[in-house]
């Protein structure tokens, strides 16, 4: 029966269990939780060891590039990523997964981690992501606005309302007073994009950065209503970070001019 107890609905209870898990983890690792409590470790010149970064799937391309830069700038360090849906990453962090940094695709998912008191200090927004319409290469259906997607013969996929990209798309549609009936509500942004890449759907409402990452497999169409549904991406150092010094340095790199250049090159907007 013990494994079932861990699946908690109540945040308070969840936090308690997570805290217990963290204590257990801290006791196991040599550097422990006390090193993360020191605020001055970021300034130290010599960094080493592994940094584990949990990041939203949409950050995969840009963060991989930044990880390589970081390792080059700080020889002896190793950046390990776990990319995935922000919700599931947040769930594994509160469940006690060993991570140093969490970069989430929405403040809502970051809140899961901060509510469980797993973050060390308040999260900061490091990029923003705007929605864009992804359509077939060459835009054969001449999609030029969000309204064009309401055409009855057009197969459009949206993200499910439960996931951040779906919530954002919904917000944009509501703001413009449009009623759009998609053929499917996909489980995440990449699934929605894939349906267009495979030409099964004619268009999808996804993030600008995803359109960018898909290259010439899809065509991107910007629409003004996306301004009403801009997603903030927060990043935070985690409380049980085993390598807080290097983790802080990585966050600093992400927020630096150099990091912002990589991110805006991948289609993200400045915060």
């Amino acid at each position: 029966m013990t494994p079932t107890v861990r699946r908690n609905r109540r945040p308070l209870q969840g936090a308690a269990v997570a805290a217990a898990a963290l204590l257990a983890l801290g006791a196991c690792s040599s550097s422990g939780a006390d090193s993360s409590a020191k605020p001055d470790s970021s300034g130290s010149g010599k960094l080493s060891g592994e940094v584990t970064v949990f990041a939203a799937a949409s950050l995969k391309e840009s963060f991989t590039t930044l990880g390589e830069r970081f390792e080059k700038e700080h020889p002896g360090t190793k950046v390990t990523f776990s990319f995935g849906g922000s919700d599931s990453l947040a769930a594994s962090i509160t469940g006690g997964a060993p991570a140093d940094v969490f970069a989430s695709a929405s403040p809502k998912t970051m809140k899961i981690v901060t509510d469980a008191e797993d973050a060390s200090g308040p999260p900061v927004t490091f990029v923003r992501n705007k929605l864009e319409i992804a359509t077939l290469p060459g835009n054969p259906h001449h999609v030029s606005s969000l309204e064009d997607l309401t055409a009855p013969d057009l197969k459009v996929v949206l993200c499910d309302k439960e996931v951040p990209c779906g919530a954002a798309a919904h917000k944009a549609l509501d703001a413009s007073g449009l009623k759009l009936t998609p053929v499917s509500y996909e489980q995440d942004v990449k699934a929605a994009l894939t349906k267009v890449e495979l030409k099964e759907a004619d268009a999808a409402v996804v993030y600008k950065s995803d359109v960018h990452a898909a290259g010439d497999k899809v065509a991107g169409v910007e629409f003004p209503e996306s301004a009403d549904a801009v997603n903030d991406y927060p990043i935070a150092l985690l409380k049980d970070a085993r390598n807080a010094g290097a983790a802080k340095a990585f966050i600093a790199l992400v927020r630096s001019a150099e990091g912002q250049k990589v991110l805006s090159g991948a289609g993200f907007l400045k915060p």
């Binding site: 079932t4 699946r7 609905r9 509500y185 099964e200």
Partner: protein, 283 residues
């Protein structure tokens, strides 16, 4: 390979409490009992956990929501349609595998059972490549007949049948192999055509096996998730079956996910338990 029939007849006799030739020593040795109980607990505890964590106070409200009924109705409808489709094409396929000796039969049998071990998502991708709007068959369906299967209820039925039919084929083929072909031969000598013999003699003979296979296929189709979400997508009332609803509810409302899981569990248990005693004894 002649012993299994004899053995199963013997076990069947023992189970029915018929006359036994040898006294079987009763009592279970501990090295068997302990792992067996752990195995039982491993399978049952998660289900009990679901019951324990069910939000009973909000359950009536969760279950009376139209979304849940819509998903459940669609699940039942699609699983039944997938089973019916499997019966129509799966039973003849099983007959072919059991009764007709053709080159490469072993390979064909392996291919038929492949969806059993294939990750369902892979099945969904494969279906998309075959029957999608851009697929090797699907593009012709689209350009000739204007039929596109992804994102439709028919797509759900196809995805479920793809994953569930092997259960039926395996079950029916096994029953056919155990059934004595001499009855069919006798019918043939009395002037029945091969199809008449199949319809009038073989089919009634293997009916319990078909029923058992159909129940298994139905239950598997009801629980299908990966191939469905990959091939048919997710749209409430059209392609959102219960497993999809559970998965997406878990992202935001775990209580709703638990309640939905409970419904699916109850339906599955009711059907398996209800049908097992009646039809699965012979299997």
């Amino acid at each position: 390979m002649t012993s299994p029939t004899a053995k199963s007849r013997e076990t069947a006799g023992t189970l029915r409490g018929g006359p036994r030739r040898r006294r079987v020593r009763t009592g279970v040795p501990l090295p068997l009992l302990l792992p067996a109980l752990i195995g039982l607990a491993f399978l049952i505890v998660p289900l009990i956990a679901l019951l324990v964590r069910t939000p009973w106070h909000s359950l009536p409200e969760q279950l009376t929501s139209p979304d849940v009924w819509q998903a459940l109705r669609l699940s039942l409808l699609c699983a039944t349609a997938a089973t019916a489709a499997s019966l129509v094409i799966g039973v003849p396929l099983a007959w072919l595998l059991a009764r007709v000796d053709f080159p490469g039969r072993g390979l064909v049998r392996a291919l038929v059972t492949l969806p059993l071990v294939l990750p369902p998502v892979v099945g969904g991708v494969a279906l998309l490549m075959a029957l999608g709007r851009n697929g090797i068959v699907g593009q012709w369906l689209d350009s000739w007949f204007g039929i596109t299967l992804p994102f439709t209820t028919a797509g759900v039925v196809i995805a479920e049948a793809f994953v569930a039919m092997p259960f039926l084929v395996i079950s029916v083929e096994g029953t056919l192999r155990a059934a004595d072909p001499r009855y069919e031969e006798a019918a043939a000598t009395l002037g029945a055509s091969r199809f008449t013999a199949f319809r009038r003699v073989t089919l009634p003979l293997i009916a319990p096996g078909i029923a058992a296979g159909a129940v298994l296929a139905w239950a598997r189709a009801l629980g299908e998730f990966g191939a469905t979400i990959t091939f048919a997508g997710n749209f409430p009332g059209r392609t959102q079956t219960m497993p999809l609803a559970v998965y997406l509810a878990l992202q935001s409302d775990p209580e709703a996910a638990i309640a939905l899981s409970l419904v699916l569990l109850a339906v599955s248990v009711a059907v398996l338990a209800g049908l097992r005693d009646r039809w699965m004894r012979a299997g």
